[in-house]
Symmetry: C2
Subunit: 260 residues, 2 copies
């Protein structure tokens, strides 16, 4: 591979077990890399599914223990969702943006605009009694978790890598979900091209690229959603220099938002 012949390779790490509260994600990543016979190298990126981060952090909530507020009951009637589920969504949200039958779109406490504040009822797992009552919330602080994982990987391997936690979000004007970055460390979440010139020496029109979201989407494609668990993706070949970064770079400030 030369710079004239760039290649991006994503590998789903094999043998990752079902994750439970308290599990050591860095150890799982290192074991997965070993199983894939990959030697971690500076410039590599690890993309980790939100779901296993949330599980490791114990972000499961039992709906049987949730008492819906009056507001939750009201929104539940409009959306025809479980009032206890709506209560959990509201507890994770700053603001409700849109709602209608089956749809509840909010600003998550971390600033992400998404359905149900990312609270999920699928792939929760069979390890709990009455599992149908459990829901999984987003990680408490995905940027911090990425930062901690990155430091741990660097101290164990010497490699300076990027770490991304991804999730699948819907879009305003397009159907289907795509992977986006919830947490970022050691990687340019937003690539600022302002001042760069194009192929023909004119200033570029597109000046900021959602680089971590593009990589989150690529990893999401390989992770799959259903019958196979491939929650950790190793990436090699990102053709940009790395720097400190965080997923908040990708959150459009409310005052710049034309669509809420």
């Amino acid at each position: 591979m030369s710079s004239n012949f760039p290649q991006l390779t994503l590998t789903a790490l094999p043998g990752i077990p079902l994750v439970q509260e308290g599990d050591d994600l860095a150890a799982l990543i290192l074991a997965g890399l070993k199983a894939a016979q990959i030697t971690l190298t500076s410039g590599d990126v690890l993309v980790i599914a939100q779901k296993i981060v949330s599980k490791a952090e114990g972000r499961l909530l039992n709906l049987a223990e949730v008492t819906p507020s009056a507001q939750a009951a009201e929104l539940a009637a409009i959306t025809e969702k479980d009032p206890r589920f709506v209560e959990v969504v509201l507890s994770e949200s700053k603001e409700v943006l849109r709602m209608r039958l089956n749809t509840l779109i909010v600003e998550h406490r971390l600033g992400f605009v998404c359905a149900n504040a990312g609270v999920d009822r699928s792939n929760i797992g069979p390890q709990l009694e009455g599992e149908a009552e459990y829901v999984l919330c987003l990680p408490l602080n995905p940027d911090q978790t990425c930062h901690t994982l990155r430091e741990r990987l660097q101290s164990d391997t010497g490699a300076d890598v990027g770490v991304i936690i991804n999730d699948s979000h819907g879009r305003a004007w397009r159907t289907g979900t795509v992977g986006v970055a919830l947490g970022v460390a050691g990687f340019p979440a937003l690539l600022d091209m302002r001042g760069h010139l194009d192929l023909f020496d004119y200033t570029l029109q597109i000046t900021q690229i959602g680089l971590a979201d593009e990589l989150a989407a690529a990893a999401s494609l390989l992770m799959g959603q259903a019958d196979e668990g491939r929650p950790i993706i190793h990436v090699r070949g990102v053709p940009y220099p790395f720097r400190e970064g965080n997923a908040q770079e990708l959150v459009r400030p409310k005052e710049m938002d034309l669509f809420r």
Copy 2:
């Protein structure tokens, strides 16, 4: 590579020359594959930058020959854009959704919601006199172009591949642009998971995945935007069965749009 160890590999085809009107894109793809020593195989995908498709189709317009309408002049005053540029944007649009200083967001005639109807002033090229006056519009029918390229590649190589034309679009609530699919052939643009069960036999909550957009984003990351031209990306390892498809699957119907 086994199914327990999935890998997705994206390769930027080397040696692609600057594209001009009338160029044979299928021939460029085949030459690029040869230069990269890649034997095209069924299940591979080619992702092609919108810009070279538009150039091959002669979608350059000379602003010096454009006379702005009264509406274009009015929107140009609000957005502080060139009235002739706004005229071209309007001619490519169904509806203006939002505007303010420096920002003009429309529904493109093909249904995509994006800034400036995808009309671009950068990377247009030095091959024309007075090039600063030229702008580049989106391809006329990207789905049809993908279909034609796919048939041509199949007849030349025997391989049944997917073809995607991508572009970079902004998002409602996130900063930065990401690659999205403008045209699709032979590939599930939208992957419908309705009825599928999750790891633990519950019905999945996320039921539709914007698969072509995820791949468009991955390719966009490798294409870059500025000083290097890498407009054709070969992809191997997509872990889903292929089918007929088109980019209109990814356009949210107006009546389902909560954010316009």
